[in-house]
């Protein structure tokens, strides 16, 4: 078979070997480098990837429905806390996140007792929040009237959605977001807060808006991107 050795090893063939996984490690790394530089190689990669994947038609399907829950756990178990905070932090920007931590630390050190007393008395001024995010033109302002237990929120900017809804969430630090319902961006909405909602409201709590399917996130867990968020602060009366 030595007469076959004169077969030229063209790019077409090297890329096919790459897609098949036949290249030695050093050849593979070298071709990866070239793929980043040379569009015609990438076109060949697409060609072979598409054609060869059709060979998988003959592979029998094997059901494994029970694995979905494990995947879901891996991806979403933390989403109610850590994942959510990561998304919020990224939406708010590092500067704001740092500022928020500073505010929270200050509250813990100096004002927590006073705050608690005043919350009980309900003589304090309203809570207010400005909801915005980097890379988003959606903005809301919100205020909470403690006496009437009313949260008022109105959109300042942002597109009116037709096949999705903006959903408002309240989040206490390190806790799962709690939905306060869907809110229009082009009108003011007044929401009555129950005692459970109010009990958790404190400096450092965050209001956030996500984009969700019509009617809101189906399972009460945010699924869409955070398009606006901001911390609640006390507005002195």
């Amino acid at each position: 078979m030595t007469t076959d050795d004169d077969a030229p090893r063209t790019d077409e063939i090297i890329v096919a070997e790459y897609v098949l996984g036949l290249l030695e490690e050093d050849e593979r790394e070298a071709l990866t480098e070239r793929l980043n530089q040379e569009p015609h190689l990438r076109a060949l990669e697409t060609f072979w990837t598409e054609r060869l994947s059709l060979l998988a038609d003959e592979v029998p399907e094997v059901e494994a429905p029970h694995l979905y829950d494990r995947i879901s756990d891996r991806l979403f178990a933390d989403a109610r806390s850590i994942g959510w905070w990561a998304r919020l932090t990224s939406a708010l920007g590092v500067w704001q996140a740092t500022a928020m931590s500073a505010v929270a630390a200050l509250v813990i050190v100096g004002f927590v007792t006073v705050l608690f007393v005043n919350m009980q008395d309900r003589t304090m001024g309203d809570w207010v929040a400005t909801l915005a995010a980097e890379d988003s033109d959606v903005a809301f302002v919100a205020s909470i009237d403690l006496d009437d237990q009313i949260l008022s929120i109105s959109g300042q900017s942002g597109a009116v959605l037709t096949d999705q809804d903006y959903e408002l969430w309240i989040i206490e630090p390190d806790s799962a977001p709690v939905s306060l319902g869907v809110v229009p961006v082009n009108a003011q909405t007044n929401l009555r807060l129950d005692d459970a909602n109010l009990a958790g409201v404190r400096e450092g709590s965050i209001l956030a808006i996500t984009i969700e399917p019509l009617g809101g996130a189906p399972e009460g867990i945010p699924t869409g991107p955070v398009v606006a968020a901001g911390p609640l602060t006390i507005q002195a009366s």
Binding site: A7, T49, E50, S53, V59, G224
Partner: protein, 188 residues
């Protein structure tokens, strides 16, 4: 359009839509995508890894990757099943060979084209199926088997040389010539 082609296009469009929704963080779509595609991807993992426990681990990691990389899928460049199969296959190969993954997300390759495929392109994509079958049949049976073993079972040149009981260099020459003939046939 013949009914079987129409059905194929519907399935393709559905998977494309699901991947699109997953890229927006839609968990319901992710679950549906799992139910529609996992059995094929699990079959591929089992074939390469030859071990149910490893294949189960692989499938979980593959779907975690799909969740995170769904925004890299480009409609109209790769077919959605080809994208999923390639992701699954590369992951299983990385596992079985203990190699580190390189460039297996296809995003670079898929930046090349952006236009949506015309219906004609889509029919062409469907026809590719029978085309590769035809072209594989034109190879000598053993050489076609070698291509299948490399793609579907993750065989290396050494595995193939052992299997067909030929020297390593002979195996390389055989396979490279087969790939050259395949390319020629598929490009017609």
């Amino acid at each position: 359009m013949p009914p079987h082609l129409e059905a194929g296009l519907d399935a393709r469009a559905e998977i494309e839509q699901l991947i699109g929704r997953v890229s927006l963080g839609d968990r319901a779509a992710f679950q549906t995508l799992y139910s529609r595609t996992h059995a094929k991807l699990f079959g591929i993992c089992l074939r390469i890894l030859n071990n149910r426990q490893d294949a189960e681990e692989a499938l979980q990691e593959i779907f975690v990757k799909i969740w995170h990389r769904s925004n890299q899928y480009r409609q109209g460049v790769a077919s959605p099943m080809s994208w999923l199969i390639t992701l699954a296959r590369n992951h299983a190969l990385d596992m079985v060979r203990g190699r580190k993954p390189v460039n297996d997300d296809l995003d670079v390759a898929q930046d090349l084209a952006s236009a949506d495929p015309s219906p004609e392109d889509q029919i062409l994509a469907m026809d590719q199926n029978r085309q590769i079958e035809t072209c594989m049949e034109e190879l000598e049976p053993q050489r076609a088997d070698a291509v299948r073993l490399a793609y579907l079972d993750g065989h290396t040149y050494q595995d193939l040389a052992d299997r067909f009981n030929v020297p390593l260099n002979t195996m390389k020459t055989w396979l490279r010539r087969s790939l050259g003939r395949l390319k020629e046939c598929l490009s017609q």
